[in-house]
Subunit: 211 residues, 2 copies
C-alpha cells in the first residue's frame, strides 16, 4: 500500500508538529538567503534550535525539504492570488490584480520565492510540476475569458498555452527585477506599465495602425 514512502509520516503530536515547522521555517530562511549549497543541515537545525539528528525525524534529506517548500509556496501563492483576483471585473482586471498580488507576495516572501526558483536545480520534477500546474489553471481562465469575449481569440491552437507561459514569464521576471532586486520602488507604476503591454501590446493604438 505504501511500497516506498515518498515522504516521512507527518508528526503525530503537537510538539512534533511545532518542531517540524521550526525546521521548515529555518530551512526556508537559510536556503532562501544562502542558497541550497550553503545551507547545510547543521546550519538549518542550528537556526531552528534543534539537534542535527532531529532533522532526519521529519525529512529524508535537504532535497526533501525543498520539495516540501515548493509545494508550500504553490499553496500559499494560489491562495493569495485567488483572494486577490476574486473581485476582478474581467480578465484584464484579473491580470492586473494578479500581477500586483504576485509582486506583493514576492516582496513579502523573498526567501520562499528564491527557494522555488532554485528547486529547478535540485529536483527539476517538482519545479516543472509547479509551473505546469499554474499554467493549467491559467489556460482554463484564459479560455473562459476568450469565450466571454474579454480577450482576443487565439491565432492558432497553441495560443492559450503560449499566452499562459508568457504571462508567467512576465510575472516571474518582474518579480525578480522589482520584487527581489529593487524591493523599495513603488509597484503601481510597474503594474500600470506592464498592463499596457498585456492589454494592448506594443503597437500604437488602433487609429494609427495600418494593417
Amino acid at each position: 500500500m505504501n511500497p516506498r514512502k515518498r515522504t516521512l509520516p507527518l508528526p503525530k503530536t503537537g510538539r512534533g508538529e511545532l518542531t517540524r515547522r521550526k525546521i521548515l521555517d529555518a530551512a526556508k530562511r537559510e536556503i532562501g538567503r544562502r542558497g541550497f549549497a550553503e545551507a547545510s543541515v547543521s546550519t538549518i537545525t542550528a537556526e531552528a534550535g534543534v539537534a542535527q539528528g532531529t532533522f532526519y525525524i521529519y525529512f529524508r534529506s535537504k532535497e526533501d525539504v525543498m520539495r516540501e517548500l515548493v509545494l508550500h509556496m504553490g499553496r500559499m501563492l494560489r491562495h493569495h492570488l485567488t483572494e486577490a483576483t476574486a473581485a476582478a471585473a474581467d480578465r484584464i482586471d484579473a491580470e492586473r490584480l494578479g500581477l500586483r498580488a504576485f509582486l506583493d507576495f514576492v516582496r513579502r516572501n523573498p526567501d520562499l520565492y528564491k527557494v522555488v526558483e532554485e528547486s529547478q536545480f535540485v529536483d527539476e520534477k517538482v519545479y516543472r510540476q509547479y509551473y505546469t500546474e499554474f499554467a493549467k489553471s491559467y489556460r482554463i481562465a484564459l479560455s473562459a475569458a476568450e469565450k466571454r469575449g474579454e480577450i482576443a481569440a487565439g491565432r492558432n491552437g497553441s495560443t492559450t498555452e503560449v499566452r499562459a507561459w508568457m504571462l508567467m514569464g512576465i510575472a516571474v521576471f518582474l518579480g525578480q527585477r522589482y520584487g527581489l532586486w529593487d524591493p523599495k520602488t513603488p509597484l503601481e507604476p510597474i503594474v500600470d506599465a506592464a498592463m499596457g503591454l498585456i492589454a494592448d501590446g506594443l503597437l500604437p493604438a488602433a487609429p494609427a495602425r495600418n494593417r
Copy 2:
C-alpha cells in the same frame, strides 16, 4: 596595476588555448546536464581528457568557470540575435525575429542555457549583470522604436524598462517550456501565438473595444 587578478591569465600557447577550451567545453556539458553541484572538477577534467590539476592552471575554481560560461553565453547570444534581427523591417518584426532566434539558440545550446540560469545561485552578481546588460540594450532599442512611432508611447516613466524585462521574461519562459522541455514541437506556431500578445495584447481588436 592588477592588485588581485580577477581571472587567471589566458594561455599563451596554442596548446594551452586548446586545453582551456576543452575544459570549458566539458564544463559546459557537465554543468549543463548534471548541474553545478553534481559536476565535479574531476568529472569535468575526465570529460575533457586532462588531469585534475590542469583545471587549476586555467580557472581558480568551479565558480570561475561558471562566470566564464555566462560571459560566453552573453557574447554568443548577442551575436546570434544581432545577426537574426539585422534585417528587421520594424520593431515588431525585430521582436519576432529575435524571439525566433532565441528559441533556436536555446534548442541548439541547452547546456549553455542551463548553465546561465543556474549561475544565479552560484554567482548572483554575474547573473544580474547578464540580464541587466540585455535589459539595457533592449531599452535603447525600444526607446528608438518608440520615437519612430513603431510602438506605442509608454504610460509612465518606467514603461520602457518594464517592457524590456517583460519581453525578456517572455523569451526565457518560452525558451524553457518550448526550447528545453519540448524540443521537438515546431516553433513557428509558438512564435506566431506569442507575437499576437506582444503586438496587440490580450484585448480584442480595436473595433470591438469600448474605452
